[in-house]
């Protein structure tokens, strides 16, 4: 994978995914390895994303590398009208690796074509966020001991949720059964359901959280945002149907885990936090190891 950019989870083969997860496991066991000593990483956040940026910077620091860059477009030259191409041409002559977050979809692929050094996509609009997908896969494998044959529940905004789309595509390599729980207006788009049908992967759709979750190995929660509804009344009517509470977990499987890409608003009640089945904060920590693994892989350090 050396010198290859990481743009889309769809660029990874099953073997490459498993290789990265193994590397992440190594970094979890031994999180301070100065593999990036003497290297400079350009961290270009054309839109703010504190969580993702901190996770990347932690990963880079644990690897002994240094970071230059900006955390929102107000402090970048993009506000002076510089094209993305020119920014990438310039930074790729300064840094050994570029981590980029950008609001335009496809910007990461374009940047990777303009750059002299590998580009890691830290989110390109509603399109891809491959390091998030990798940490989700890592969290699932870590908690379940495997990725194969799992019952995966995706809950909330399945229409606009970039993370659930990428996770669905990546998990399709591992013989899953999917359950989609969402309001009518935010159902899983047809193209993804067609993809599953073409690959013979079973899926079920549900209108609300019910005892059906007792079958789950993983419940992946996402935010249901008011602004996604054409009718605000509809939001008020359905919003409570997608809130996970601790008493709903009573009959769920012992090693079922609740995941969430964070930040959460109210879709997971805080009484779930103390449950051993709550995994979202550990999931965030796993992001550091997954990002260390991805950085090491593209830099040819592992």
């Amino acid at each position: 994978m050396k010198n290859r950019s990481l743009v889309s989870i769809n660029d990874f083969s099953k073997e490459e995914i498993l290789h990265i997860l193994d590397l992440a496991e190594e970094f979890e066991a031994n999180p301070n390895q100065k593999l990036l000593e003497g290297k400079v990483v350009g961290s270009l956040f054309f839109e703010p994303s504190t969580r993702t940026r901190l996770s990347f910077e932690t990963a880079i620091n644990r690897l002994g590398g240094r970071v230059v860059g900006f955390s929102d477009s107000a402090s970048s030259s993009a506000t002076k009208g510089e094209s993305l191409k020119d920014t990438i041409q310039m930074v790729s002559r300064y840094a050994d690796l570029i981590v980029m977050r950008h609001p335009l979809e496809g910007s990461a692929r374009y940047a990777s074509e303009q750059s002299l050094v590998p580009v890691i996509n830290a989110g390109d609009g509603a399109n891809q966020h491959p390091t998030q997908t990798m940490l989700d896969l890592y969290s699932i494998r870590k908690t379940q001991g495997k990725l194969d044959d799992l019952n995966i529940f995706l809950v909330g905004d399945l229409k606009y949720g970039r993370t659930v789309h990428s996770l669905l595509m990546a998990l399709s390599n591992f013989n899953p059964t999917f359950h989609f729980v969402s309001p009518e207006e935010l159902r899983m788009p047809r193209e993804y359901k067609l993809f599953l049908e073409e690959h013979g992967i079973p899926y079920y759709e549900h209108g609300e959280l019910s005892e059906i979750i007792d079958e789950a190995d993983i419940i992946y929660m996402t935010r249901v945002q008011k602004e996604r509804f054409s009718d605000p009344m509809e939001y008020e009517r359905v919003k409570n149907a997608y809130v996970l509470k601790r008493n709903m977990l009573v009959k769920t499987k012992e090693n079922m885990r609740v995941l969430h890409p964070l930040p959460r608003v109210n879709e997971i009640h805080t009484d779930v936090d103390a449950s051993p089945k709550a995994y979202y904060f550990d999931q965030a920590r796993n992001g550091v190891y997954a990002r260390m693994a991805l950085i090491a892989a593209v830099m040819g350090l592992k």
Partner: protein, 154 residues
């Protein structure tokens, strides 16, 4: 071979006749092939009667012979176009256009948030369905369908 109707567009000695172009896409074909920028004789006719498609257009280009990859660029706007290669006033070869596997330029991505619609980036698509025309954007990964096809101004 030529009926009186077809003679409304004059015959050529050497060159290419592109027939069965949908009339409404005549000027798109001219732009895509760059016929507005060449110096040899180009004649065209629109709104001609066609048994196949109601109203068709036809273009005759003198002294120009197209490579497959050049002519296939018009396949999205003129999927049933037929080429007649003329040498010495005779048709020496006939061929149809085919939709290529990838399309670079010509088409706009339908996604307004795509980088290709916001920066100076040439579009690039993989053709994932040739029959109903579905193009996956190499950049934003969204699919542009037949109904959403828009062409780049050139």
């Amino acid at each position: 071979m030529a009926s009186s109707k077809e003679l409304k567009v004059s015959a050529i000695e050497n060159g290419t006749v592109i027939d069965h172009i949908p009339s409404e896409n005549l000027f798109k074909v001219i732009t895509i092939l760059g016929l507005d920028k060449i110096s040899t004789q180009v004649t065209f006719g629109a709104n001609l009667d066609s048994k196949k498609q109601g109203r068709k257009a036809i273009i005759k280009v003198s002294e120009v012979f197209f490579q497959d990859h050049e002519i296939n660029k018009i396949s999205l706007v003129a999927p049933h176009a037929r080429l007649n290669v003329i040498k010495n006033f005779e048709v020496v070869e006939k061929s149809d256009v085919t939709i290529p596997d990838t399309i670079v330029g010509i088409v706009k991505c339908f996604n307004p948030k795509c980088v290709t619609n916001n920066e100076a980036v040439t579009t690039h698509f993989k053709v994932i369905n040739k029959k109903d025309v579905a193009l996956r954007c190499h950049y934003c990964e969204k699919i542009t369908t037949q109904e959403e096809l828009r062409f780049e101004a050139s």
